[in-house]
């Protein structure tokens, strides 16, 4: 605590000193004035009209900005903005536009203009010209008329834009969800166990080289797209950015109906990862934190409900799961200091009425509430649920992962060595009432943006009912899913975050310098925030008992930034410097297969480009995966040997699925853009790999009819 106070005092001293004698900034008044409208047009949708930041977009003004940037140069700021902004479209604006935007940001932090126009290579220390105090001229909200989405979503109308009707629709029942037809892909991970495995077996190692493109479909651009096509009785339900849902003939690609629910994407995340089916409806959790029930036959809205207030930054990107007449959804972007907290919630499938909420943050006086270093409740944030859960019908238990607490680092959030429950945990909930059955904290008091939020995969080994999951740190965990007891774990990539893991409890011990880190320290983290493992999901092949895991290999130095303890303030508060993972020879991509009974690796392979799709395994013994460098490949599940590959229009991103229509097996994969670290890290570390910045689309492959 003393160290934190000292750091804060030093920070205040720094700000105070710079406020006394600020030099003029390396820009002109004309540049900063002109930069305002350009900022509004290109940046404000993510960073806010008042530069306060939101979600993963950091604040660009105030003490948090100065703490992160005070000791860095205007040249670095210009280079960063030019290379990476607007998000996902770096270098897409004129150099003078970037200069004006940077000039405006500096002026918004109290920098006074000078007489010489900014070029971009000025090595001026930002704290010498700016103190984070916003002058009156920049405080007024930007004019709404000047705003346009930062993403490339085109101007369009919303609503039921293509009317149509399925000829018939067989309502989805609990039995269907528990025992899906081989031809269907009814939910995110195909089955309740979260396997991402298709029992279809027409495509084999012997014939996979004959795969041919059957049809493709351009999807909405603008915002991240990492979707899962959902298929029922030959109809593909496809989520797009702008919360657009389409029903397509899964055999021909013919559009049947389209509902552009909207709104247009306004920040990095544009589309839900998965829709859900139940009864005669399709359920759409939206990026503006609502849940819609659509008539599956026509796409018309039957009901809608608000999960949480999107104006406060909340969103859903993780999709939904239907369980016993309820639709369960998570919530994300809970990283601001608020009296509210993140939660999982359930809604009646017929009416949309909320059935229950489970808050994923333990508050004072509640079980687990003593794990936050006595922080006031409003400063306990994070634990988002941005991946839909799985379900065991026999145990009537649903399993969800949670993200890390916010801000990212212990020093910034001042949580000490507390576990910050229920962040980075597995939660086992009763789907009928949301009651917590058990929890397991995988990374107590996480420190590096290393989520453990990803898919929970349910596997039985004889009498042992297991749940497996892997997070960004790259540890594959196995728990007993009845009790939550730790069973085993295995390390899949190099990691230096944990010194050891207790072999009985699974509780990890953080490196000593991680435990001692204070605000302002640069601390190494391997893997970094792209993982290890991230949202590109695993696949479990029941025939071989193999879990095939896409992995990423890069590291960061992360520095904790100070975070003002004030309602409405928030963010991640961690600066990062990226580097290649030692011992990988620059291969960011890794694919590995683990036997889930023994937890031993069977095979692994590495490649330059990271994998950006979930893995699909099939009963034909063939698996599929796509990558950052536009390659979509088939591999032999038992050996990892590449059997077939093709290159698609842009990065292959999303979730690969397989389905059948009229007895013929299809493989569908998305090319997609946008997202967080899994895309951002290779974009920075591998500037020589290029792919177009548009091209969200679905590609469907099959063997020829003969």
């Amino acid at each position: 605590m003393k160290k934190l106070l000292a750091a804060s005092v030093a920070c205040v001293a720094l700000l105070g000193a710079s406020a006394i004698a600020l030099e003029n900034g390396p820009f002109t008044a004309e540049q900063s004035r002109g930069g305002r409208a350009l900022y509004v047009a290109n940046c404000a949708q993510c960073h806010g009209p008042e530069l306060k930041g939101a979600g993963e977009a950091p604040p660009l003004a105030g003490t948090t900005f100065i703490a992160a940037w005070g000791n860095r140069s205007t040249e670095e700021l210009y280079n960063l903005v030019k290379a990476s902004m607007p998000y996902g479209n770096g270098n897409s604006l004129e150099p003078d536009t970037y200069r004006r935007i940077v000039a405006y940001v500096l002026a918004a932090n109290g920098a006074k203009p000078g007489n010489i126009a900014m070029v971009g290579n000025e090595a001026v220390r930002i704290a010498s010209i700016a103190d984070g105090k916003m002058p009156v001229m920049t405080e007024a909200p930007a004019p709404a008329t000047a705003a346009r989405p930062a993403t490339s979503y085109p101007q369009t109308r919303f609503g039921l834009t293509v009317a149509g009707s399925l000829k018939s629709y067989d309502p989805v029942t609990d039995t269907m969800l528990a025992h899906p037809k081989d031809a269907d892909w009814l939910m995110y991970r195909r089955n309740y166990q979260g396997w991402s495995h298709s029992p279809l077996s027409q495509v084999t190692a012997a014939n996979v080289r004959g795969l041919q493109l059957q049809w493709s479909w351009a999807m909405n651009d603008g915002g991240a797209s990492q979707v899962t096509p959902i298929v029922h009785d030959g109809i593909m339900f496809l989520s797009n950015t702008a919360n657009t849902v389409q029903a397509l003939d899964a055999k021909t690609g013919e559009l049947i109906w389209e509902n552009r629910i909207g709104p247009a994407p306004t920040r990095a995340y544009g589309a839900t990862r998965s829709l859900a089916l139940y009864g005669d409806k399709i359920f759409v959790p939206t990026t503006d934190a609502k849940l819609y029930g659509l008539d599956a036959k026509t796409g018309k809205i039957v009901w809608q409900t608000v999960i949480e207030d999107a104006k406060e930054g909340y969103s859903n990107t993780g999709g939904a799961i239907a369980i016993r007449g309820k639709i369960l959804v998570g919530l994300t972007y809970c990283n601001r200091y608020e009296t509210k907290h993140c939660f999982i919630s359930a809604y009646d499938a017929n009416t949309g009425k909320v059935a229950w909420r489970f808050k994923t943050i333990a508050l004072k006086g509640e079980p687990g509430g003593d794990s936050w270093n006595n922080l006031p409740d409003e400063f306990r944030q994070g634990a988002e649920t941005w991946i839909a859960g799985t379900y065991d019908p026999e145990l009537n238990t649903t399993y969800w992962g949670t993200a890390q607490s916010k801000p990212w680092t212990r020093a910034s959030r001042e949580s000490g060595a507390g576990a910050t429950l229920y962040a980075n945990s597995t939660l086992a909930l009763d789907p009928d009432n949301g009651k917590l059955k058990w929890f397991y904290s995988h990374a107590p008091g996480e420190n590096f943006d290393l989520d453990e939020v990803f898919e929970r995969v349910l596997v039985d080994h004889d009498q042992s009912k297991d749940v497996l999951t892997i997070g960004k740190v790259g540890i594959l965990w196995k728990l007993n899913r009845v009790t939550g007891q730790y069973e085993d774990s295995a390390q899949t990539v190099f990691q230096n975050v944990f010194d050891k893991i207790d072999p009985k409890t699974g509780i990890p011990t953080y490196r000593k310098d991680v435990q001692a880190a204070k605000v302002g320290d640069w601390i190494s983290s391997c893997p970094g925030p792209a993982g290890g493992h991230d949202w590109p999901a695993t696949s479990y092949d029941p025939k071989t008992d193999l879990m095939v895991i896409p992995l990423h290999q890069s590291c960061v130095l992360m520095r904790a930034e100070p975070m003002e303890k004030k309602i409405g303030v928030g963010g991640d508060a961690g600066s990062q410097r990226l580097f290649e993972m030692p011992g990988t020879d620059g291969n960011l991509g890794k694919l590995v297969a683990y036997n889930t009974r023994t937890m031993q690796p069977l095979w692994s392979l590495q490649q330059k480009a990271p994998f950006l799709t979930g893995v699909l395994t099939t009963a034909g013994g063939v698996g599929f995966v796509g990558d950052f460098d536009r390659r979509f490949r088939a591999f032999e599940t038992a050996t990892g040997k590449t059997l077939w590959q093709t290159r698609l229009a842009t990065s292959v991103q999303g979730h690969v699925v397989s389905y059948a229509v009229d007895g013929k097996q299809y493989i569908a994969v998305e090319t997609g853009l946008g997202g967080g670290s899994p895309v951002g890290k290779p974009t920075t570390l591998m500037p020589d790999i290029h792919h177009p910045n548009n091209g969200n689309a679905i590609f469907v492959f099959a063997l020829p009819d003969n």
Binding site: L80, A83, L685
Partner: protein
């Protein structure tokens, strides 16, 4: 099964082992960077390090720096991928491409650190004075080639470095 125990076994074996020759190699890749510093932190290279039981010999090459190299050194960190203090200066071609070399004597602790993967090479340059290229000295990773599957989990440094 968690393999932490393996490390303990390796340490125990290494402590009893006599001086031996070892070789290490590394890809020299851009030092920790951001999109804002990437313009000045460019290039790549390779280095080979031989330890004959008495002398550590360093040789390597690099190319593609944005500005001329200024200094190069061997650093001794507290762990793999964890930066630490400089241990030895190396000789470096002060251009945007060239070679590095050096011949050094190590203390017993430094030998142990070398075998634990704690040593790394860093080349600095005019516009990246705090690190332009970095490479951690590890046993030669047994890559079969890009996209080629190998048995097991592949190279996991903390299980495979010698202590």
């Amino acid at each position: 099964m968690i393999l932490w125990h393996v490390g303990i076994v390796v340490v125990a074996l290494a402590a009893a082992a006599p001086a031996r020759a070892d070789s290490f190699e590394t890809r020299l890749s851009p030092s920790p960077l951001t999109d804002g510093t990437r313009i000045n932190i460019t290039g790549e290279g390779r280095a080979l390090v031989q330890w004959d039981g008495n002398i550590l010999s360093v040789s390597g090459d690099f190319q593609g720096l944005a500005t001329n190299a200024t200094t190069a050194a061997l650093y001794d960190g507290p762990g793999i991928a964890i930066p630490g203090p400089k241990a030895f200066d190396l000789t470096v071609t002060q251009e945007t491409s060239g070679t590095i070399w050096g011949s050094l004597q190590l203390t017993r602790k430094q030998v142990a650190d070398l075998r634990a993967g704690r040593f790394y090479i860093q080349i600095n340059s005019q516009k990246a004075p705090d690190g332009n290229l970095t490479g951690w000295l590890l046993p030669p990773p047994p890559f079969a080639g890009e996209d080629v599957p190998v048995a097991g989990a592949g190279f996991l440094p903390q299980f495979e470095v010698k202590k």
